[in-house]
Symmetry: C2
Subunit: 413 residues, 2 copies
């Protein structure tokens, strides 16, 4: 299972500060992996609000169903996440596993099961024996500490080669508040959502409905604009918890997502989500290069996004990037198959700062050497100008290498 760390990993991991109002603990439950943590519990103070977005799969996992139901209450007291088994397509036994886990977690956190949130990641279709870890939850709740963010990010990894963490600090009405986030990704990564699991928390006092509105908006240009392999997980879960502890330092309670005092928070949330989402793309299974596809001049932003995803998901574009081949003809192919309005004879394509095609044919000044120099970099920006309108979107992805095939050819067995 262990694979070499992605060459696109951050050179140093961000240090995440504590968020007042929550504590974290992890454990080695031995669900599938040996000699590593695979269970994470986050315990929240009373009053913590929660927002979430989930996979659009028609076959969601049992924990996704469970979280969707509890999200309506808007309140959270604990989060329990396991790696190694997704508890997806596990039928009645899967529902029993989530119910049992929630009951034990609720006792440990002294709350109702409706205030528990669950996530599972790993193999699909194998029954999850919650008994393997439920006996650990009471101890985890007691042992939880505020400074365990890095340990939390490590416990939720599957084929990830590095933990994904990010933090931002920003002011609401002059009071500093913090947002921390962790994520895991690696494969089965496509919108919507782009990651399998991501958990954010802030000490800002924000009502659940406002939190939900902000999260739904912020996820579009970030997690919903990342793709590794066009496959969508049954388990994708992004949860944002707000403990409200900063109200003790004078932060005002915010009820409305449109409140102008949220301007900085909104920007920081979007920035942090994009940071985590790009970390996921850069740790795509087998990834050696990040691809940033920007489509401009489309009929609409949505058209630009669809064309950008068509390029970013094309196996032929992704293998060309892996081979450091400036094969812009395959970009044309991917534009053509997207199904959106495009005029072949107006297209211009840039690899990095090099314009390789213009007005529907190879750039008159095209230099194979200059284009190849761009392709040797770790980050490959591909920009397509359609010349039709003002629609614009950027999508983040990675190359398709032999390692992706190797990793996924023997993941389960």
């Amino acid at each position: 299972m262990p694979h070499a760390v992605s060459p696109l990993a951050p050179t140093s991991l961000a240090e995440l500060p504590e968020i007042a109002g929550l504590r974290i603990a992890t454990a080695e439950a031995g669900i599938k992996y040996r000699n590593r943590t695979d269970l994470m519990m986050m315990v929240f103070d009373a009053g913590t609000t929660v927002a979430g977005v989930f996979t659009r799969s028609k076959c969601p996992s049992a924990p996704v169903d469970f979280c969707r139901a509890n999200l309506a209450g808007g309140k959270a007291r604990a989060l329990v996440v396991n790696s190694g088994n997704a508890n997806a397509f596990t039928g009645q036994r899967g529902r029993e596993a989530t119910a049992m886990t929630a009951e034990v977690a609720a006792k440990a956190a002294a709350c109702a099961p409706s205030e528990i949130f669950l996530a599972s990641t790993g193999v699909i279709g194998e029954p999850l024996d919650a008994g393997r870890f439920s006996h650990l939850l009471d101890g985890l709740a007691k042992a939880a500490e505020g400074d365990r963010w890095r340990a939390a990010a490590e416990a939720i990894m599957t084929t990830d080669t590095y933990p994904k963490v990010a933090t931002r600090t920003v002011e609401i009405a002059g009071v500093a508040v913090t947002i921390n986030g962790i994520a895991k990704g690696a494969g089965m990564i496509a919108p919507d959502m782009a990651t399998m699991l991501s958990f954010l928390a802030t000490d800002a006092p924000i009502a659940a409905t406002a939190l939900q509105a902000m999260l739904r908006q912020a996820v579009e240009p970030s997690f919903n604009s990342v793709t590794v392999d066009s496959d969508t997980s049954t388990s994708d879960t992004l949860l944002l918890f707000a403990t409200g502890a900063a109200s003790g330092r004078g932060a005002p309670a915010i009820e409305d997502a449109g409140d102008p005092r949220l301007e900085g928070f909104r920007a920081a949330l979007g920035d942090l989500l994009l940071d985590l989402a790009r970390q996921v793309a850069r740790d795509g299974e087998g990834a050696r290069k990040e691809i940033q596809v920007t489509v401009e001049g489309a009929a609409s932003d949505q058209a630009a996004k669809r064309i950008a995803l068509s390029i970013a998901n094309s196996p032929l574009v992704k293998t060309a990037v892996a081979g450091e081949d400036a094969n812009w003809g395959r970009v044309v192919m991917a534009v053509g198959k997207a199904g959106e309005e495009a005029d072949r004879d107006r297209l211009a394509i840039h690899f990095g700062e090099i314009r390789v095609a213009v007005d529907g044919e190879r750039d008159p000044d095209y230099s194979e050497a200059a284009a190849s120099e761009v392709m040797r970099r770790a980050e490959i920006p591909i920009r397509v100008e359609l010349g039709l309108g003002t629609g614009r979107w950027t999508v983040y992805s990675c190359d398709l290498t032999k390692e992706y095939v190797a990793i996924n050819g023997d993941y389960r067995s």
Copy 2:
């Protein structure tokens, strides 16, 4: 460029009989490849009708534009095909190349340029110098012979590892008629169309409008149900020529696609197209296994097709098949992401004759050993029962191997 012949290649190639009313010649024009043929010309007797279907790409190649315009006339006297360069995204120079080729071919075949059909396959975006081969066309037209079908199939290959040929003989009103077909595929293979190039010819006397109606119908369950990598070429072209020579042996002229005398012909055409389409899938770049995905019990045939394509195009399903891993959970994932109606708790999944999942969870009698035995075969049938309606479709594909990445990482350079 040369890759090992696909392990799924036919053990022996069909011998294609001559079709009266047409002659074939090939040449080494040196457009890109060395020491192999890369130019093919087919010359038809006066009275030959033609039907065609093309890529749905919004960025079609210059030859596709050219053929679409000429198809309205319904008459064909010559076909010129080159491999090594697709003449796609080549702007004004691309249009000049098709016009010049057509003019020279029309002189060679003593007809109008509107009776010429052209196809090009190979690299996109590089100008095609028609001068490299136009001087050869007159000699090809003179040298053409009826028994060169295998040579024709070889001349149009790119990364194909074997030529694709098929033939059927059937009766129209008691008179035997023949349909021959050749195809090339290998990569950038997804509906619609599934192949890059395929050319069929028959001696049956069938009007162009009837031919077109039959072809459009027959292509749906065959070439439009094959996918290698979900990428759609700018050059996909399928042409069907009918010389009508069998009328000399008493075959009646058919004007209407609904004519009951076409029943056998229609079936044979569909059968031949599926044969060629499966040959394309079995020679998908790097392919070592054929995947046959059947979805049953869908809300409609179209829903079944979309779900089957979602499974067949999933990189995670395709790499699992490459790794001989009976990872049916990824099939569930691909059903879930297809966007069509599905009820997780009614799903049943079969690998070959082994039912691996039923009623939304692993089959109670599931045997890893039995499922693994199926995965070791060269042909992997995956069958999904949705339990919702009567919609049904089958899609043909292949596995995703490291060789696909290797082939496409250095195709152009």
